[in-house]
């Protein structure tokens, strides 16, 4: 499904092969296959209940698939099946080479500890043991996500929704991951805050050469951030392609419906 011409020499970062997941009789995800390349932003769009979030959990190894598998190219260049990783390896991957931005920042942050410690936690988890350097890196990251460094010692529960989301992004990016999963990162934010967040995400993604899998029901987010789009319906991928192509010239009736339901700007 991936367009091979775009990436002549690169190895794919993550490959999903006929992934499926069923909960009892309900098939939440059916036969999903794709490859994601380094630096590529893939949006998974679809309405509620179309299996987007389930797919994201399968890809990030949080849920065991009923069929198919996901393989990931580790930092040492070896591509491994996620199901064969031990729990320790998977958790290590999760807090170093991966990031996960939740829709609700309270899920991804420690609300009771300071912003600095939230950003520093991953560093401490990989063995950083110098307070000054951890704090310096944390303030650096707060600046990068446009949070006033003076608020480094405040707990995120005193932050606004937009700030929390930006803090969550900083917390995830501090270990310089290569792949970030995002689950509706702009959900629940008002439009102007959304726009700023998207702007920030776009520049960070380009700057850090991040690969991103972003789940969203907001086609505007997909258009702004992603290179490629996968449209899901009833657990299946019904259409996939370059973002502009899919959104400007949708083939499937369902995608046409989705696109036409956006209010004109």
């Amino acid at each position: 499904m991936a367009d091979p011409d775009l990436h002549e020499n690169d190895e794919p970062l993550l490959v999903a092969t006929s992934l499926s997941k069923s909960f009892g009789r309900i098939a939440a995800c059916r036969d999903v296959s794709f490859a994601l390349y380094p630096g590529e932003v893939l949006a998974i769009v679809g309405e509620s209940g179309s299996g987007k979030s389930t797919l994201l959990q399968l890809l990030s190894g949080q849920l065991a698939a009923s069929g198919g598998h996901v393989s990931y190219c580790m930092r040492d260049g070896v591509t491994r099946d996620l199901a064969t990783l031990g729990e320790a390896e998977r958790r290590f991957l999760f807090r170093t080479d991966w990031g996960f931005v939740h829709q609700d920042p309270a899920q991804g942050l420690r609300m009771a500890v300071s912003a600095g410690a939230n950003v520093g936690e991953r560093l401490m988890a990989v063995g950083w043991n110098h307070y000054g350097r951890i704090r310096e890196t944390a303030s650096d990251w707060l600046t990068r996500v446009e949070i006033d460094v003076a608020r480094i010692d405040d707990a995120p529960r005193t932050y606004s929704g937009g700030m929390r989301q930006r803090l969550q992004i900083a917390r995830n990016l501090v270990t310089e991951p290569r792949l970030v999963f995002m689950d509706e990162p702009t959900g629940g934010l008002d439009v102007s805050v959304q726009a700023r967040l998207l702007d920030l995400l776009r520049s960070l993604v380009a700057e850090l050469h991040l690969a991103v899998i972003i789940v969203t029901h907001d086609l505007a987010v997909a258009r702004l951030l992603s290179h490629r789009v996968m449209v899901m319906k009833g657990g299946r991928v019904i259409e996939t392609g370059l973002t502009d192509q899919v959104l400007d010239d949708p083939r499937e009736p369902y995608t046409q419906l989705l696109v036409s339901s956006i209010l004109p700007p």
């Binding site: 991953r122 043991n129 307070y131 010692d153």
Partner: protein, 298 residues
């Protein structure tokens, strides 16, 4: 003296065997919290039910028992536990650290150096060092299993960010045998260095939480810290007002409502021994009169 209504040391033999098995496992895996079937004891939780069960399981007729509470031999908790074992096991009790073979303690390690033929039993209220950082017990167990201890440093980071230094003064987390992070029970961090490479066996019992853990003799115990904020034991900067000791852990005692206070050794036995040896502090009653040592059996 042995009360016939009780089995030796109150607990029945099967229970003691169960506790001993947990203790053996704890010794085999230093710092690891071993679950055990904690029993109801004739005292409320928080009064040392875990320590009492461990003591009951290891006590023999020839043992000499010392019980301290915050370093003191003569507080309610210490006296009642000492009496409890004097009554149910008929063992000799003492207040002198050197004479004791089993020392049950709440929140202190004696000042006098411990030896190989001694066992130190701690009463532990909350055995899980990660408890207030990660509320899920399933998750903390997994973190211990995978040695994921980044979170422990988050707590120390918070301390420095808020107070400018590591302000945790008691229950200061330690790493045992370069593997498990352990809560040393609410002992002041002043006592942490005494745990390292200690010749005595150290056992920890948490009755309500149903956990036993241990530090075998001569085990490495390292207090967690940052490179640029190293661990420092804390002590009030004053000599003991009664015995003049410069290196013991001090209690602060408020003596009136005008802000006067005195600092005295929290280890009463240590302080009394020093006074008996002729040391004086600024508030000693002069001249020092002889005082009966030990003999606090109930």
């Amino acid at each position: 003296m042995n009360a016939p209504a009780y089995n030796f040391a109150y607990l029945d033999e099967q229970t003691k065997r169960m506790i001993r098995r947990a203790i053996l496992k704890a010794i085999a895996i230093p710092g690891y919290q071993v679950p055990f079937a904690s029993r109801e004891m004739p005292m409320p939780y928080g009064w040392g039910t875990g320590g009492v069960q461990v003591t009951a399981a290891i006590l023999g007729p020839a043992d000499v028992l010392k019980v301290i509470d915050q370093g003191s031999d003569d507080t309610t908790n210490a006296i009642s536990i000492r009496k409890f074992f004097a009554k149910t096991a008929g063992v000799a009790t003492t207040t002198a650290t050197e004479e004791a073979t089993v020392i049950q303690t709440r929140h202190r390690i004696p000042e006098a150096a411990l030896s190989e033929n001694q066992v130190l039993v701690y009463q532990v209220p909350i055995p899980e060092p990660l408890r207030f950082l990660e509320p899920r017990e399933t998750e903390t167990r997994r973190m211990h299993a995978l040695a994921e201890y980044g979170l422990m440093h988050v707590k120390l980071y918070e301390d420095i960010a808020r107070f400018g230094h590591i302000a945790t003064a008691y229950a200061y987390p330690v790493k045992v045998n370069a593997r498990y992070v352990m809560d040393p029970s609410p002992t002041p961090k002043f006592d942490n260095p005494k745990m390292d490479n200690c010749p005595a066996l150290q056992l920890f019992g948490a009755g309500r939480e149903k956990r036993i853990y241990a530090i075998p003799p001569y085990t490495q115990v390292v207090s967690l810290d940052f490179e640029d904020h190293p661990f420092e034991p804390y002590r009030f900067n004053a000599p003991c007002a009664l015995c003049g000791a410069e290196n013991s852990y001090l209690d602060e005692i408020v003596t009136d409502d005008k802000g006067s206070r005195m600092f005295v050794c929290s280890d009463t036995d240590y302080c009394e021994c020093r006074q008996a040896a002729g040391h004086h502090g600024s508030l000693s009653a002069a001249p020092y009169k002889d005082k009966a040592q030990g003999g606090a059996n109930g």
